[in-house]
């Protein structure tokens, strides 16, 4: 799978389906992300946007469909059987993932949270891993807080440590799962600003978020999902100001209230 089209694409998800019990959360969802692109996924709660994101790096195993990272099938062979754990782990290391609730390692300092992956997964020496962690923490403006435990940091600071943890793995793209929705309103900006800086620096981002300011200013493309299907997608100006579908219009109307 190295046609000219997929070569310029970082990520290509096709026909993803996922069922939890008797609820079909995703129906045949597809998504393509090009190098350096910032894609924002929006949709009502329960629409399947988080599940879609989690299927991309196989945190959730989709029942059907495939995900290609630069043409390489994630999680399972084309024939359908699962890849060995070591292979899947190495594939996951190529994605960054930022969680809604930060999920920082509670027993480690900010520095060790960020250094753990480079040391244990990428095989850097301890001092090199810490050096890299220090640099990434500085990049998210946390140089002064490297020795603090997660419980000693504000939500906004924790989320920025989580972003630094993802960056330290030098991922090919970063997935954000509602990164600001667990934050107090006054802490949202510091996280959104960091995301906008990354987008501006050419990082490939896929973000599930309701931050319309971020979506409008930083997104190259907005994808609207409802009931597990991609309803429409396009540049932010088009999706927000001239939505094609009735469901998109209804959702946006709710959002503006």
């Amino acid at each position: 799978m190295t046609s000219t089209l997929s070569a310029s694409l970082v990520l290509q998800a096709r026909g993803l389906g996922k069922r939890f019990g008797d609820r079909q959360v995703l129906h045949d969802a597809s998504l393509q992300v090009a190098e350096g692109e910032t894609v924002v996924i929006i949709g009502p709660s329960g629409s399947g946007k988080t599940t879609l994101l989690r299927c991309l790096n196989w945190l959730e195993t989709p029942d059907t469909g495939s995900v290609l990272l630069r043409g390489e099938a994630i999680g399972r062979h084309a024939a359908g059987h699962a890849l060995p754990e070591a292979v899947l782990a190495a594939q996951r290391a190529r994605f960054g993932f930022v969680f809604q609730r930060f999920n920082l390692f509670a027993h480690l300092s900010a520095l060790d949270n960020v250094a753990l992956g480079p040391q244990r997964v990428l095989g850097l020496r301890a001092d090199a891993a810490r050096e890299r962690a220090r640099a990434e923490l500085a990049r998210v403006h946390l140089a002064a807080h490297i020795d603090k435990r997660p419980s000693q940091l504000s939500g906004g600071q924790q989320q920025r440590v989580a972003i630094a943890r993802a960056l330290a793995m030098q991922p090919e793209l970063i997935l954000f799962d509602e990164p600001t929705s667990a934050l107090d309103p006054e802490l949202v900006t510091e996280v959104v600003d960091v995301m906008a800086e990354l987008a501006g620096a050419g990082m490939t981002l896929v973000a599930v978020t309701h931050e319309m300011r971020f979506a409008r200013s930083a997104a190259d493309r907005v994808v609207f999902i409802d009931e597990g299907r991609v309803v429409e997608e396009g540049p932010p100006a088009q999706v927000f100001d001239a939505p094609q579908h009735e469901r998109t219009r209804r959702f946006l109307a709710h959002l503006r209230h």
Partner: protein
């Protein structure tokens, strides 16, 4: 009824010898129980179904049979398969194997109780299953594991009294020997109880100290 203080004075050093054996056996059995229990606990969390089932069957057997019977099995049944252990080591083995079953379950449930997002975050940066266990889940479970593990070690010390039935000359057996000669069960059993109580108090004190030293987050 009179309390025989002279006998008590004579019994104190005699019981001390027994206590020394109890302490030796229990310390060795604790080491075995913690090491093997820790390993089994990790095996219970491994990706291999065979390993998990083996540990489950072992824990089930240990929980489902009396310690006294396990002691008899080690002491009387192992010689049948050619393993002839002296009482002292049979005692260490029986108590250690028993504790290991319970410790395994304590480790398994302690690690399992760590918040799910921790393992997910570790997976998201590409860590392998065993790395997640070792670097993320195990350190975070220590604080929940220490109190029930101490309880288990206390149970082990009390269970060591049962070794008197395979004639290990430990604290209880030493007391029984004195009673057989002087027939003063009240004094001697009271004294034995005090010895156990003090031994276990030291253990409980150590556990609380350890718990305080473990980091909070």
């Amino acid at each position: 009824m009179t309390f025989d203080w002279d006998l008590v004075a004579k019994a104190v050093p005699l019981l001390g010898t027994g206590l020394l054996t109890t302490v030796k056996i229990c310390s060795l059995a604790m080491l075995l129980g913690l090491a093997l229990g820790g390993l089994l606990g990790l095996a219970a969390l491994s990706r291999s179904r065979l390993l998990r089932w083996t540990v489950m069957a072992y824990v089930d057997f240990i929980r489902g049979t009396p310690l006294l019977i396990q002691i008899f099995l080690v002491y009387f049944a192992l010689p049948v398969v050619g393993l002839n252990l002296p009482e002292f080591w049979a005692g260490v083995l029986a108590l250690g194997l028993n504790a290991a079953g319970f410790i395994a379950e304590i480790v398994r449930s302690g690690v399992g109780a760590v918040e799910k997002g921790q393992a997910e975050a570790a997976r998201s940066i590409g860590m392998r299953h065993h790395q997640i266990l070792w670097f993320v889940l195990l350190p975070q479970s220590l604080r929940t594991v220490v109190p029930p593990a101490t309880n288990e070690l206390i149970t082990l010390v009390k269970g060591s009294a049962l070794l008197s039935v395979i004639s290990v000359y430990e604290l209880t057996r030493a007391g029984q020997a004195i009673i057989a000669v002087h027939f003063a069960p009240f004094e001697i059993f009271l004294l034995i109880a005090l010895y156990y109580y003090l031994t276990i108090s030291v253990l409980a004190w150590f556990s609380r100290w350890l718990e305080r030293r473990l980091p909070v987050w």
